[in-house]
C-alpha cells in the first residue's frame, strides 16, 4: 500500500516502509547528509539530514534518514528551523576541522565543503586552537588516514564491517577525542578498501594511488565498465590530458551496486605507459615502424591473399585468429566473420589472465570481461591460464600457419608464451609492448579498454558499453578487421560501431532481444542461457 505524504508543499506517493531521505531524493530534493548512504543504510549519527515535520502541535525537527514515511506526513526540508539545525551541525563539524582544503584531495568533491557553501558561509565563531590529531597515517597498502579531517560519520567502519565483511577500522575514544583508527598492529587490507575513500564525505581517507595527483575538478568523467574480471562493474574513468587518473565505481543495481574492488580500480597503469603507437614490420632482425598501407599489404601477403581483389579462402594460408577474452563483442564478431568468410582460419577466444578468486561480494575468478560474450557469439573459448588448451592452438596452426593474436595487452601467460615460441609467423594486434609484440612479424598498435567503444557481457549475461575516455593511441581493432573484411569481400565497411552492433543483433540470436545501441548507463541483460557452440 503506497502512502501519501507532503514534501515542501507537494503531495507525493511513496512505497510503504520507504525512508524519507530516499523519497525526497526520488523527487529531486537532496537532503544534506553525511552518515547516510543508500548502500549502507541509515545510521543517524551525523544529524545533518534534519528536516521539519509539520504536525498539529507545531513543527518538530527530525532526521529524514531514520524516518519511515507514513500516511499524511507533512515535511518541510527547507524551513528556517531545519536550515538552522543543519547550519549548526555544519558549524560544529567545522569547529575543529583543519581547513587544509588547498592540499586536500577531496577538495571539489567534499561534502563538508559543499554544505558549507549551502548552509553557512560564515567565519568561524570559535577562536581556540583547533584539535591536533594524526595526519597522513599510512593505514594499509591503499589508504592514507587524516584524523583531523574526519567527521566521524562511521561510513568507512560500516562499509568494512557490513559490506566487505572485514572489520578493519573503528572509532576509538569518545566525545571530542574520538577518532577513526585501525585495530592495534593491523592494517586495512580488504580487497575493497578504496570504497571507503569514495564513501568518506571529507578527505579523511584518501587513496594512495590518487593522492596529490590532480585537483578533482580538472578530471573528465567517462562512464565505462571495469574489464578486470567477469563481473564487469560499472565504472567512471576519470582522465586528464590522455592519461587515466582514477577509476571509480558507478551505481548499477544490476551489476555492482555502489562498489568496486581495489584491483579493478587500480588496473589502469598499462593504459598510461609504454604504449605502442605506430604499426611495425620485422625487416631483417629488427622490427621497424611502417605506414598503414605497407602494413595492410604485408598482412595480405603473409596470409597468402592476392594483393587486391576478392577473398579466396582456398588459396589462403592456414591461420589461427586468437582473440583475448578481454576483446569487445564487436571485435570478436568481426574477426569471427573474417575467419569464417575470408581466411582459412580457426577463430578461438583465449582466457589467459590467471584466475583470481570468486568472493561473495563482487570479484570473479575469471578475470576477463567478455568470456560470456564470446560464448554467446558461439566462439570456442579456450583456457590458456594454466596451459590446458595450448595444443588446440598449436594443432590448428600446423607447421606453417599464421597466428593473429588480438587484444593481448597484458598477461602473456606461460601457455600463451609456449604457443608464441612455437608459431612461425605472428601478427599482433596489441596496444602494449610484450613478448608477443617482440616475437611478432608484424604489430598493429591496438587499443586498451579506456579508448574503446565496445560491448562486454558479464558472467550473468549483462551487456554494458565501454566508452572511450581518452584519445586513441593506436588503431581500433574492429576497424582493421572491418577494413580487411570489406576489401576482401568487396562490401562497404561499417560506418560506425553502432552499425556493427546492429549486425550482431541481426545475426546472433542470443542478442536478438536486446537493443545493443540503447544500453544506457547501466546496460541490459541479454538471453539468460549461452547459445551452444
Amino acid at each position: 500500500m503506497p502512502v501519501t505524504l507532503t514534501i515542501n508543499g507537494k503531495q507525493v506517493q511513496a512505497a510503504e516502509g520507504a525512508l524519507l531521505i530516499d523519497v525526497c531524493a526520488e523527487h529531486g530534493i537532496d537532503v544534506p547528509h553525511f552518515c547516510y548512504h543508500p548502500g549502507l543504510g541509515p545510521d543517524g549519527n551525523c544529524r545533518m539530514c534534519q528536516v521539519e515535520f509539520i504536525t498539529e502541535r507545531g513543527g518538530r525537527l527530525g532526521i529524514s534518514c531514520k524516518t519511515v514515511v507514513s500516511e499524511g506526513l507533512v515535511v518541510d526540508t527547507n524551513s528556517a528551523a531545519a536550515k538552522r539545525a543543519r547550519a549548526s551541525v555544519e558549524e560544529m563539524l567545522l569547529l575543529n576541522h583543519p581547513l587544509d582544503c588547498p592540499i586536500c584531495d577531496k577538495a571539489g568533491e567534499c561534502t563538508l565543503q559543499n554544505y558549507y557553501m549551502e548552509h553557512d558561509l560564515q567565519n568561524s565563531r570559535q577562536d581556540f586552537t583547533r584539535f591536533k590529531k594524526e595526519k597522513a597515517s599510512d593505514i594499509g597498502p591503499t589508504l592514507i588516514l587524516d584524523q583531523e579531517r574526519c567527521v566521524l560519520c562511521d561510513r568507512c567502519v560500516r562499509f568494512l564491517r557490513d559490506v566487505a565483511g572485514e572489520e578493519q577500522l573503528y572509532i576509538a575514544g569518545r566525545g571530542h577525542e574520538a577518532y577513526i583508527t585501525t585495530f592495534p598492529g593491523q592494517e586495512v587490507t580488504s580487497p575493497y578498501s578504496i570504497n571507503t575513500v569514495d564513501l568518506c564525505p571529507v578527505g579523511a581517507l584518501t587513496s594512495k594511488d590518487f593522492r596529490f595527483d590532480s585537483a578533482t575538478w580538472f578530471l573528465k568523467n567517462t562512464n565505462s565498465v571495469c574489464t578486470t574480471c567477469a563481473r564487469g562493474c560499472s565504472m567512471q574513468i576519470q582522465s586528464k590530458k590522455g592519461q587515466i587518473y582514477r577509476i571509480r565505481p558507478r551505481h548499477n543495481p544490476d551489476v555492482n551496486g555502489y562498489w568496486a574492488c581495489d584491483e579493478g580500480r587500480l588496473n589502469y597503469q598499462f593504459v598510461n605507459h609504454d604504449r605502442l603507437q605506430t604499426p611495425a614490420l620485422r625487416r631483417g632482425g629488427e622490427i621497424l615502424p611502417c605506414s598503414g598501407q605497407e602494413a595492410v599489404s604485408a598482412i595480405r601477403e603473409m596470409l597468402g591473399l592476392r594483393p587486391a581483389g576478392k577473398a579466396d579462402a582456398a588459396t589462403a594460408r592456414k591461420s589461427v585468429i586468437l582473440l583475448s577474452a578481454t576483446a569487445t563483442l564487436e571485435e570478436m564478431f568481426l574477426f569471427r566473420r573474417l575467419g569464417a568468410e575470408c581466411l582459412n582460419a580457426t577463430v578461438l577466444v583465449a582466457r589467459h589472465v590467471p584466475d583470481g578468486v570468486t568472493d561473495k561480494i563482487l570479484r570473479r575468478a575469471d578475470r576477463h570481461p567478455n568470456t560470456k560474450g564470446a560464448e554467446m557469439l558461439g566462439l570456442r573459448v579456450i583456457d590458456l591460464t594454466a596451459g590446458a588448451d595450448a595444443s588446440v592452438v598449436t594443432g590448428a596452426l600446423g607447421s606453417d600457419g599464421v597466428l593473429l593474436a588480438v587484444g593481448f595487452n597484458t598477461h602473456i601467460s606461460p601457455a600463451l608464451d609456449a604457443i608464441l615460441a612455437d608459431a612461425k609467423r605472428i601478427v599482433a594486434f596489441s596496444g602494449c609492448a610484450s613478448v608477443l609484440t617482440e616475437r611478432a612479424e608484424m604489430v598493429f598498435p591496438g587499443l586498451t579498454f579506456a579508448e574503446k567503444d565496445g560491448l562486454v557481457v558479464n558472467f550473468e549475461g549483462h551487456v554494458q558499453q565501454l566508452r572511450p575516455a581518452i584519445d586513441a593511441k593506436g588503431e581500433s581493432e574492429w576497424r582493421i578487421a572491418d577494413a580487411l573484411l570489406s576489401s576482401l569481400l568487396g562490401v562497404k565497411p561499417h560506418e560506425s560501431v553502432a552499425h556493427v552492433r546492429k549486425a550482431i543483433m541481426d545475426v546472433v540470436p542470443a542478442f536478438a532481444g536486446v537493443d545493443l545501441n540503447k544500453l544506457g548507463a547501466t546496460g541490459a541483460r541479454a538471453a539468460a542461457q549461452p547459445v551452444a557452440g
Binding site: R47, L61, L152, R174, G175, H176
Partner: protein
C-alpha cells in the same frame, strides 16, 4: 517526612541477607503476585501512578504496556543501576541495604511483562554494592526465589548481574543496552524504542533500580495506597540525594508535594555554617538551576519543578551557598559532559567541548565580552538535535546558570574587577582534576 517506602528497611540489621529480609516482611507479596494475571499486575502498577525514578519520570506501567504481547522473541528486563548522573547516589543504598527488595521488584516486573531474563547493569565503580547484590542474587537462587519454578509458582526467572565499565552514557537506556551487548556504549536513535527493539533485538523494559524497588510495596499495599501519597500527578515517594553546602548531606526519602527548601532544611539541617542560600540544582547536573527564591517557593513534585523551569530528574539535589561560584560550578558540569559525550553526534561531540572551553576561559579570567552571548547562542543548537539528551543536558544548565547569574559571569570578564576564586562544593580542585 511522613512516608517512607523505599528506605524503610535500610537501617534494619542484616536486611541485606535473605533471612533478614524475610524477617522484615520480604517476599511476602509473591503469593499474591502469582495469584494475579500478568495484565492485572500491569494495571495495578498503572493505577499506582509510579513514574520512572531514573530521571525522565515516565509512567512505569505505561512503559511496560508498550512491550508487544504476542511476540515469539524473548523479552528482557534491564535494571538500570548505572547511577551516573552527578549528584545521584541513592540506588547504591538499595543495592547495599535492601538488595532483596530489588530482586522482589524484578520478579514483579518480569511476571507482569512475561520476562524470563533480567539484567542488572551496575555502575562499574560500585564494588561493594555489586558484591552485596550478587550475594543476594546467589542466596535468592539457593532458596528458590530465582531460577526455575519460583516458590512453586511455575514461573521461571534468571537474574544476571552485569558490571558496567565506567561511562555516564551507559546510563542512557539504549546506551546501556549497547554496552550490555558488548558494544561501545552509544545511544541508539529512537524509534524503535527498547520496548519493541531492545537488548539483542528483542523487546526490553529498562527501569531504574528505585522504580523496581518500589514495586513490592505497591503489590503489598495496593495501588490505591501508593497513589494516595504525593500529589495528583506525582505519586508516592522518592529518594533524594542531597549534596553540596548543607550540614548533613545524604539520601532522604520524601513523598512528593512538599516544599523544596523546607524538605532540604529539615532533612539536612540547612546550609553549612549558617551561610545564605544562593541556589539549588534540583534534579542532577543536567537540570536547570533554581535561585534561592525559586527554591523557597517551589514544591517538590514533577509538575511544580517543571513549572519553575527545571526538573525532578534523578532526585539529585545540589545546594549552593552564597560563597559558591556559579561560573566554576558550570565549568565543572561542562567538563563532565564534554568528557562523557559518546561522540556520535556533532552537536554534542563538538558543542559540549566548545562550551567547556568558553566557560573555562571565562573562569580563568581570559573571557571575551562576546563569550557569554556565544554560549547562549550555542544552547538552542544543542537542544533536541541529537540521538540522546546528553547535549541537552549540557545546554540546559548552561542557559539557566547564565540567565540567572549573568552578573557573576560578567564579573569574570570585567578585568578591572575580577572576583575572588572560589571552589565548588566539596572543594573540587579543578586544576588537579583535569581529565
Amino acid at each position: 517526612m511522613s512516608h517512607t517506602i523505599i528506605s524503610t528497611r535500610f537501617d534494619k540489621k542484616d536486611n541485606h541477607t535473605l533471612a533478614g529480609y524475610l524477617a522484615n516482611g520480604g517476599y511476602r507479596t509473591l503469593p499474591k503476585l502469582f495469584g494475579m494475571k500478568p495484565d492485572e499486575v500491569i494495571e495495578e502498577v498503572k493505577r499506582s501512578g509510579l513514574r520512572g525514578r531514573g530521571g525522565a519520570g515516565f509512567p512505569t506501567g505505561m512503559k511496560w504496556s508498550f512491550v508487544p504481547k504476542n511476540t515469539d522473541k524473548p523479552k528482557y528486563l534491564c535494571v538500570n543501576a548505572d547511577e551516573g548522573e552527578p549528584g545521584t547516589f541513592k540506588d547504591q543504598l538499595i543495592l547495599k541495604f535492601d538488595p532483596h527488595a530489588l530482586i522482589e521488584g524484578i520478579i514483579v516486573c518480569c511476571y507482569a511483562v512475561g520476562i524470563k531474563t533480567a539484567y542488572v547493569y551496575i555502575r562499574g565503580e560500585y564494588d561493594f554494592p555489586i558484591a552485596r547484590f550478587s550475594a543476594a542474587v546467589a542466596e535468592a537462587y539457593a532458596k528458590g526465589y530465582l531460577g526455575r519454578n519460583i516458590q512453586g509458582s511455575g514461573f521461571d526467572l534468571d537474574v544476571v548481574v552485569h558490571r558496567g565499565a565506567g561511562a555516564y552514557i551507559c546510563g542512557e537506556e539504549t546506551g546501556l543496552i549497547e554496552s550490555l551487548e558488548g558494544k561501545k556504549g552509544q545511544p541508539r536513535p529512537k524509534p524503535p524504542f527498547p520496548a519493541v527493539v531492545g537488548a539483542f533485538g528483542c523487546p526490553t523494559v529498562v527501569n531504574n533500580v528505585e522504580t523496581i524497588a518500589a514495586l513490592p510495596w505497591i503489590m503489598e499495599n495496593g495501588a490505591a495506597a501508593y497513589a494516595a501519597i504525593g500529589t495528583e500527578k506525582s505519586k508516592g515517594t522518592m529518594l533524594f540525594s542531597i549534596s553540596g553546602m548543607v550540614e548533613r548531606p545524604g539520601v532522604y526519602e520524601s513523598e512528593f508535594g512538599v516544599n523544596l527548601w523546607d524538605f532540604i532544611e529539615k532533612s539536612t539541617g540547612g546550609i553549612k555554617g549558617g551561610r545564605k542560600l544562593k541556589a539549588v540544582i534540583p534534579g542532577g547536573s543536567s537540570s536547570a538551576i533554581l535561585t534561592a527564591e525559586e527554591a523557597r517557593n517551589v514544591n517538590l513534585d514533577y509538575e511544580s519543578i517543571a513549572a519553575a523551569g527545571s526538573m525532578v530528574g534523578s532526585g539529585a539535589i545540589m545546594v549552593l551557598d552564597e560563597d559558591t561560584c556559579v561560573v566554576r560550578a558550570l565549568e565543572v558540569v561542562l567538563r563532565f559532559y564534554a568528557h562523557e559525550s559518546c561522540g556520535q553526534c556533532p552537536p554534542c561531540r563538538e558543542g559540549t567541548y566548545w562550551m567547556y572551553q568558553l566557560v573555562s576561559r571565562i573562569r580563568a579570567g581570559r573571557g571575551r565580552p562576546e563569550d557569554i552571548d556565544t554560549l547562549l547562542a550555542i544552547c538552542p543548537d544543542m537542544t533536541g538535535r541529537t540521538v540522546c539528551v546528553l547535549a541537552d543536558s549540557a545546554a540546559i544548565p548552561t542557559a539557566s546558570y547564565i540567565k540567572k547569574f549573568r552578573p557573576e559571569f560578567e564579573a569574570y570578564i570585567d578585568k578591572a574587577n575580577p572576583p575572588e576564586r572560589k571552589l565548588m562544593p566539596g572543594g573540587v580542585n579543578l586544576e588537579a582534576g583535569a581529565h
